[in-house]
C-alpha cells in the first residue's frame, strides 16, 4: 500500500486544466485547419494532382480543401509553388454540417459544431458507444486516450459505455467496411431515441484512403444520419475533445 501511495505522489496530478486553462501544447509540425489565399492561386491544379483522395479542388479559380476527405498529408501544401494553401495550427475543426468542412477563401473561420438537440438533451451527460467499422485503430486510440487522466473526459459528463442500450449515441470510426455494415445498423437501432451520431476521422466522414473501394460503404453517412464530423487522420485528441465540448454546448463557439 505504501508503494502505491508513493508512486501516486511521484506520478503527480496530471489532468489538464483546459478548457478552463491554457491549451495543451501541440506539436510544432501539427497540421490543423488549412487556410487559403486565393489571390496567390493561379489555378495551376498542382494541389488537385498531388492530393491522394480528391480533397483539394480548384473551384471557380479558387483553391478549396474538404477537410472531411483530407488526410492532412500536406501533399497539396508542398505542391503549391505560390503558397496559396497552408495548414495552420488551428485544432478546432469539428463541424455539425458536412459542407462546413470545406475550407475556401470565403470560409476560413472554424465551423460551428454546436447542435441544439445535443445541448438540450446531452449537455450535462453524454454517454457514447464506440463502433469501429473498418477503422485502423488510430482514431480508436486517440478517442480512447480521452478517458485517460491527462484528458479526463469524465469531468465533462462524457463517457464511453459498454452497450448501445446504455448510450445516447454512437461515435463511429472507420470507412464502414461492407463486413461491418450490418453490425453498425443493428448497433444504431439498439440506441434509444433521441440519439446522436458522431463521425470521427477521415474514414468515418468520407472513406479516408479507402474512399471508392468496393469493400467499404464510404463513411458513416452511407449507413446512418450523422450529427457531428471530426476531421483528421487521426484527429488529434484535442480536436476530438473540442468537437465534443462545442457539440454539447459545454464551451462556446467563439
Amino acid at each position: 500500500m505504501i508503494d502505491i501511495l508513493q508512486t501516486r505522489l511521484q506520478q503527480k496530478y496530471r489532468t489538464m486544466s483546459w478548457p478552463d486553462g491554457p491549451t495543451p501544447p501541440l506539436p510544432a509540425q501539427f497540421a490543423g485547419r488549412p487556410c487559403m489565399d486565393a489571390a496567390k492561386c493561379n489555378s495551376c491544379g498542382a494541389c488537385e494532382k498531388a492530393c491522394p483522395v480528391g480533397a483539394a479542388q480548384i473551384v471557380e479559380g479558387r483553391p478549396t480543401l474538404d477537410t472531411g476527405r483530407c488526410l492532412f498529408c500536406r501533399a497539396c501544401e508542398k505542391a503549391c509553388a505560390r503558397g496559396a494553401l497552408k495548414f495552420t495550427k488551428e485544432f478546432r475543426m469539428a463541424a455539425a454540417q458536412r459542407g462546413d468542412l470545406t475550407v475556401s477563401q470565403a470560409q476560413q473561420a472554424f465551423p460551428a459544431a454546436q447542435v441544439e438537440k445535443a445541448r438540450q438533451y446531452f449537455g450535462r451527460s453524454l454517454k457514447l458507444r464506440q463502433v469501429s467499422a473498418g477503422g485502423c485503430n488510430a482514431c480508436e486510440a486517440d478517442t480512447n486516450v480521452l478517458g485517460t487522466v491527462g484528458w479526463d473526459l469524465g469531468r465533462f459528463g462524457i463517457q464511453f459505455v459498454a452497450s448501445p442500450r446504455h448510450a445516447d449515441g454512437l461515435l463511429i470510426t472507420g470507412p464502414v467496411s461492407v463486413n461491418m455494415r450490418h453490425a453498425l445498423e443493428k448497433t444504431y437501432a439498439a440506441v434509444s431515441s433521441p440519439k446522436i451520431v458522431i463521425a470521427c476521422g477521415s474514414c468515418a466522414i468520407a472513406g479516408g484512403p479507402y474512399a471508392g473501394h468496393p469493400e467499404v460503404c464510404g463513411g458513416a453517412m452511407s449507413v446512418v444520419p450523422v450529427d457531428l464530423f471530426i476531421p483528421g487522420c487521426p484527429p488529434h485528441p484535442l480536436t476530438i475533445l473540442d468537437g465534443l465540448l462545442r457539440f454539447v454546448g459545454r464551451i462556446s463557439e467563439g
Binding site: 502505491i4 485502423c136 485517460t148
Partner: protein, 501 residues
C-alpha cells in the same frame, strides 16, 4: 538447381531466377525446410496470364539471417501443407478465399476474411460474414458464448466463439474479416499516390512498422541507399512506436485486472510517447514520417534536446508505474499461469514477436535479420520463459527499457545531413521479387512485392504479425477461465485490421 533461392532481408531476386518446382517437389522442399527449423513467413499466390497462379513460399532461416524463396505453378488445387505444418493454416485459407485455389486435405478450411474473391470463386458461394461452421461441443451444462463483432470497449471488431463448461473454456474460435478494406487489391498496379497511405493505415497503430517495410521494398527495387540521418530517425520512430504501444498495453493489462494505479499512469504516459513521435512529424501515429528514400520530416538540435529531456521524464514515470504492476501480488495472481503456451506450440503455430519471446523463443527481426540502423546498433532480444500473461507483460516491460536506451543513444548520436534522397532511377526494377522484414511492435512484419515488366506491382503481399498470432490466442485460452479472456486477449493485443487488410 537448388529448391530455394536465398536472399537477404531487403533483398531482390529477378523473376527469371525464381526456382519453379512442380507441386510435389515444392511441397516436399517446404516441409523439409520447416522440419529443419525454418519458419513459414509467407505463402501467397500471384495470378498468371493463363488463369493459373504462381504459388510463392518465403521461409525465414533465423539462424542464417537468410530468406529461402521457392515457387510452383498451381491451377485450382494442390495438396495442402497444413496437415503437416500448422503454420500454413491461415495462408492456405487465404489462397482458397482470395483465388479459389483449393488446398486439398486442409483440416480447417473456413472463411478467413469473408472478402470478395480476387479471382476464381463464384460470388454466390460466398457466405455472410460471421456465418462460419464453428466447432461446437454437446453435453449437459455446455454453453456457447459469442462475443462481437462490436466489443464493449473502444476496440476494433472481431468475433469470438467460446465453447464452455461452467467457467472453463474448452475451445475458442476467432472469426475475423470485419475490417476488410481491400488493401492488397488496391496495391496492384502501384505505386499510386494512395499507396503510402494504405501502408500507413492498414494497421494504424503500426504506421511506422508497415511504412518502413514498404519503403524498404521500394528502396530495394530502386537500389536506393538511405542517408545516415534517415537511418537514425527511422530507428527512433520505430522504437517510439514500440514504446507507445507497450506502455499502453501495460496500462490496459492493469486495467483488465482492476489494478487502477498502473492503468491510469500508463494510459497517460503512452500519450507522452505518442507526442514524441508527433514532435518528429506533426502526427502522433507517425503519419508522413517514413517515405521511400528516407524520412518525410526532420527535427532540429533544440528539438533533439527537448526529446532527450522528455524521454528521461518518461523513463522515470514508466519505471515506477511498471514496477508497481509487476510487484503487486493482486495483479500477479491474475497474470501468473494464465493463458500459458509452450515454446513447442509457439514453434508449431509459427508465432512471432512478443508472444513468441515470452515463451523463450528468441525471434526478433532486428537481431535475426538486421536491417537499416539495426545493422549498427543492436538491441538485446528480450525473452521470458513462462509463456503466460505475465511473460507477455514482462517482455513488454523489458522491451520498454531497451527501446528507451536505444532512442536515447540514437538521439544523442544523430548524424547531420539530409533525411531524404531522391531516387536515381525513374522506375522500380521490372520483373523482380523484393522481400522486406521489419520487427513491428507486435512482431515480424513481412512485405513482398513482385513487379511486372512495367516496373509496377503485379502482386503485393502484406503479412502483419497478427496473421501468425491470432491462432496463438485461440490456443492460449484452452482450459482457461472465461473471465480471464480480456487479460489474455490484451496480453497478445493483436491487430484486427492488420489481419483483415
Amino acid at each position: 538447381m537448388s529448391a530455394f533461392a536465398s536472399i537477404a532481408n531487403g533483398g531482390t531476386l529477378s523473376c527469371a531466377k525464381l526456382p519453379r518446382l512442380e507441386v510435389g517437389a515444392f511441397r516436399a522442399a517446404v516441409l523439409a525446410e520447416i522440419a529443419l527449423g525454418s519458419r513459414l513467413s509467407a505463402l501467397f499466390a500471384c495470378p498468371g496470364k493463363d488463369g493459373g497462379f504462381l504459388l510463392i513460399a518465403v521461409l525465414a532461416q533465423d539462424s542464417r539471417s537468410r530468406l529461402a524463396v521457392t515457387t510452383c505453378a498451381v491451377h485450382d488445387r494442390y495438396p495442402a501443407l497444413t496437415p503437416e505444418c500448422p503454420q500454413a493454416q491461415g495462408f492456405e485459407r487465404e489462397l482458397a478465399e482470395q483465388w479459389g485455389i483449393h488446398p486439398e486435405g486442409h483440416p480447417w478450411l473456413k472463411p478467413l476474411r469473408f472478402q470478395p474473391a480476387r479471382a476464381g470463386v463464384i460470388q454466390s458461394e460466398r457466405p455472410d460474414i460471421g456465418v462460419s461452421p464453428f466447432f461446437s461441443m454437446h453435453g449437459e451444462e455446455i454453453h456457447e458464448v459469442s462475443v462481437g463483432p462490436v466489443h464493449a470497449g473502444i476496440i476494433e471488431p472481431g468475433h469470438f466463439r467460446f465453447q464452455c463448461h461452467g467457467e472453463t473454456v474448452y475451445h475458442l474460435e476467432i472469426s475475423l474479416g470485419y475490417q476488410h478494406r481491400g488493401v492488397e487489391r488496391a496495391l496492384i498496379g502501384g505505386p499510386h499516390p494512395r499507396t503510402i497511405h494504405y501502408m500507413e493505415t492498414l494497421a494504424g497503430d503500426t504506421t511506422i512498422g508497415h511504412a518502413t517495410a514498404y519503403s524498404r521494398v521500394c528502396e530495394s527495387l530502386m537500389r536506393a541507399r538511405l542517408p545516415a540521418r534517415a537511418q537514425g530517425l527511422r530507428g527512433i520512430a520505430q522504437e517510439l512506436e514500440r514504446l507507445a504501444n507497450h506502455i499502453g498495453d501495460l496500462g490496459a493489462l492493469a486495467g483488465d485486472v482492476g489494478f487502477l494505479p498502473t492503468m491510469s499512469y500508463c494510459g497517460r504516459i503512452r500519450g507522452d510517447a505518442l507526442n514524441m513521435t508527433a514532435t518528429l512529424c506533426g502526427n502522433r501515429m507517425g503519419r508522413g514520417f517514413v517515405r521511400p528514400g528516407g524520412c518525410g520530416a526532420d527535427i532540429d538540435h533544440a528539438e533533439v534536446e527537448d526529446l532527450l529531456r522528455r524521454l528521461e521524464a518518461l523513463r522515470k514515470d514508466v519505471d515506477s508505474a511498471a514496477t508497481l504492476l509487476f510487484e503487486a501480488p493482486s495483479a500477479r495472481a491474475r497474470f501468473d499461469g494464465t493463458g500459458a503456451i509452450t515454446a513447442d506450440i509457439c514453434r508449431d503455430l509459427g508465432l512471432v514477436g512478443v508472444a513468441a519471446r515470452a515463451c523463450g523463443v528468441a525471434r526478433d527481426a532486428r537481431s535475426d535479420f538486421p536491417y537499416d540502423i539495426f545493422q549498427f546498433a543492436q538491441i538485446p532480444v528480450c525473452t521470458w520463459t513462462s509463456g503466460d500473461v505475465f511473460g507477455r507483460a514482462f517482455v513488454r516491460g523489458l522491451e520498454i527499457s531497451q527501446s528507451i536506451a536505444f532512442v536515447r543513444e540514437q538521439l544523442a548520436a544523430l548524424p547531420e545531413g539530409d533525411v531524404w534522397r531522391a531516387p536515381t532511377v525513374a522506375l522500380l526494377s521490372p520483373d523482380t521479387l523484393a522481400v522486406a522484414l521489419v520487427e513491428g511492435w507486435r512482431g515480424e512484419i513481412l512485405h513482398a512485392a513482385l513487379t511486372g515488366p512495367d516496373g509496377r506491382f503485379a502482386c503485393y503481399k502484406v503479412v502483419d504479425p497478427s496473421f501468425h498470432n491470432w491462432q496463438g490466442l485461440a490456443y492460449a485460452m484452452r482450459n482457461q477461465q472465461i473471465s480471464d479472456f480480456p487479460v489474455c486477449n490484451k496480453s497478445f493485443n493483436l491487430s484486427y485490421c492488420g489481419h483483415d487488410l
